[in-house]
């Protein structure tokens, strides 16, 4: 345990829910806020990330589906930031006054989703990753208000997965150039989502989030859960993915981690790298980070200057 507070630790061990800041230790509060911030930032940034591609929808109804997914993501972000506000954070400052590099969302969203096909693969892979991460928090979370909010979030995430799976199957069955475009998107987005779950357990040997029951599964357990959901589906519909099952576990068919060229959307499986290299890439953020955060923040400040502060 990261705290030295036997009564609080006992409460957590018993499986009780924490309901208000007055019950928390400062360490628990800090870890809860960090976990909520990652969740809120991830949901929020998925909106501009998905919107770029949703505009390229191949039909009006597909466009509506894309927009509805974005609306869900904004609502899910709103829940996380709202709870942060209840915990004493300033929601406006968090969203509109933070440096782009300090946003805590997976690197994958920084790589542009430029086509409808890439949005579909994002629904197939990224939303499935979100489903695993949030599903685990929903199951285990020791903070009552967030756990209850996630009841609804989880139901809505199913719709995003459905969009990914339905369209991916349709595109794979279409064959030809459509299937090739789908496979090209899968080729760069699959390893990017594998990486999403973070450092392997062999390196990250201790998690305060696990101690505090802010999640229940380790990084590798979450990664395996995700693989067990996406690999069989991809194989079933005829999409190739660089992973296979050995015994009870899924094994990657490439060195993990390895080098990624974000501009070219290409992995070099012949160039393994270290996790330190990956951390350097993550911290530097990817191509769309500054632009997406600026897009969210600029209008807020312009409007405020013109209409509120005037």
């Amino acid at each position: 345990m990261a705290t030295v507070n036997p009564a609080f630790d006992q409460l957590l061990k018993k499986g009780d829910l924490i309901e208000s800041p007055s019950e928390m230790t400062p360490e628990y509060l800090r870890e809860l806020k960090h976990t909520l911030l990652v969740s809120g930032d991830t949901e929020l940034i998925s909106a501009p990330a998905y919107y770029l591609a949703a505009q390229r929808a191949p039909s009006i109804n597909a466009f509506m589906t894309g927009i509805a997914i974005i609306q869900d993501e904004l609502a899910h972000a709103h829940i996380a930031y709202h709870i942060l506000e209840e915990l004493g954070e300033d929601q406006e400052k968090l969203i509109f006054s933070r440096d782009p590099k300090s946003f805590r969302y997976p690197y994958a969203f920084d790589v542009p989703l430029a086509t409808w096909t890439e949005l579909i693969v994002a629904n197939l892979f990224y939303d499935q990753a979100g489903f695993c991460l949030l599903g685990d928090i929903h199951e285990e979370c020791s903070y009552g208000p967030w756990k209850r909010g996630l009841n609804k979030v989880m139901l809505e995430e199913n719709f995003h997965l459905r969009n990914g799976r339905t369209w991916a199957k349709r595109m794979a069955q279409a064959g030809g150039a459509t299937k090739e475009e789908l496979q090209t998107a899968v080729d760069w987005m699959f390893p990017l989502t594998v990486e999403w779950f973070g450092l392997p357990d062999s390196i990250k040997t201790h998690s305060t989030q696990l101690d505090y029951r802010l999640k229940g599964k380790t990084n590798d357990q979450l990664r395996q859960w995700w693989l067990s959901l996406v690999v069989p589906y991809c194989e079933e519909v005829g999409i190739k993915v660089p992973a296979h099952k050995e015994g009870d576990a899924y094994v990657l068919d490439y060195p993990f981690p390895c080098t990624f060229d974000a501009e070219g959307k290409r992995w070099d499986f012949d160039d393994p790298c270290s996790w330190d290299d990956v951390l350097v890439r993550w911290r530097a953020r990817g191509p769309r980070n500054a632009e997406m955060v600026a897009g969210l923040q600029e209008e807020f400040h312009r409007f405020r200057k013109a209409h509120v502060d005037a």
Binding site: N61, M64, T65, I67, N151, K152, F159, T166
Partner: protein, 85 residues
Amino acid sequence: MPVNIVDLGIVYGVRRRDARVTVDLTFTAMGCPAADFIIDDVRERLLREPGVADVVVNVVWDPPWTAARMTRAGREALEMWGLAV
């Protein structure tokens, strides 16, 4: 959603003539983001019925759907799911 489309009240009519089934279907909103999925599901499910070779889905807007068109079972299912109806 944990409710079938009959209890949701969006199926306005089903007619069968030989191997063809025609369904009159509406949506709870014109902007229903799941419209394509629902139409695909209706078609796919009916084609699994013996003797059905062709499915025509007519999307209709008159009369407009309201919550009053839900069955009691549909209402209860949505309330269980957390929707006020």
